[in-house]
Subunit: 173 residues, 2 copies
């Protein structure tokens, strides 16, 4: 347990390694998962705005996390407005990404879902660099590993994509 719902917030964390889950205990006594944090991700940003944590942070396996103490972060933002601006930009960017994942999940066909995800996430040249293991992509778009592998194989067979290593390239129409 990294922190508990209701305890005094000490700052923002970044997960370095491992997997960690944010959970909320409800009045009825149930523990409801809110979000699974992955390496590299910032979490508990809300603690900057609040004196207490709004959820539990529970390590799912051995985790390493970096703490950015609240007072230091607030001072840094106060002294350097451009740092606050960069943080705001990062939040706006992540909001966009999560919304896109929600929208993608409305698509019923696995093949179509994977293709649309790649279209949205690829760069201007139509290239998508896999940032982590393929199972993260499966989780992000709500498919089993097997369904994802089948969809990728089908897309490549039908000439929609070309795969090499951690790179997927959308083929021109």
């Amino acid at each position: 347990m990294l922190f508990r719902q209701g305890s005094v917030s000490v700052g923002v964390f970044q997960l370095v390694s491992g997997r960690l889950r944010l959970m909320r205990s409800t009045p009825g006594g149930a523990d409801v998962p809110m979000h699974t944090v992955r390496p590299g991700e910032l979490f508990a940003e809300a603690s900057l705005f609040s004196s207490h944590y709004h959820c539990d942070a529970v390590a799912l396996d051995n985790c390493e996390a970096r703490l950015y103490p609240k007072a230091a972060v607030l001072r840094h933002f106060a002294d350097r407005p451009e740092a606050l601006w960069a943080f705001t930009q990062e939040l706006a960017h992540r909001l966009q990404n999560v919304r896109t994942r929600l929208e993608i999940k409305q698509i019923r066909s696995a093949t179509e879902r994977v293709l649309q995800y790649l279209r949205l996430m690829s760069d201007s040249k139509g290239v998508w660099q896999r940032p982590g293991p393929l199972k993260h992509l499966a989780e992000d778009i709500g498919l089993t590993h097997e369904a994802l592998y089948r969809a990728l194989a089908k897309l490549e067979r039908e000439g929609w994509i070309h795969r090499s290593g951690a790179e997927i390239r959308l083929c021109p129409p």
Copy 2:
């Protein structure tokens, strides 16, 4: 069409009435929906950080939207750091909400999904005030209207919730 992908960004919008969809045109010529905007919602916040829009904004029916011109917003944030701070807080809050909706969608049982959503979104007294029509809740948690109605009826029958008007109260265990 309110704005087009690639056109020069003029500012941030808030939808007053109607429904509007953010879409991205892909190199392959497909239009991929990214997000459906509802009344009250801010959109195109990314335009504050970028000279061009990254997507199309297409009205789905008659819409009214309020424009916050970019230069005015940036000046306001520069003059009043507390306004930028409030904006950052709003983004952090929305990110949390969208993540929670993604997590909720992993739950297969419709009844359980509705109950967990209410647990996460209700206030400290276990009360959830419906902010809009019930069909928005259905969309948010990925259920058909019918499945949502059935789940709510079942939860009430089994004594988990109590409904009156736009308010749903979680019953103590």
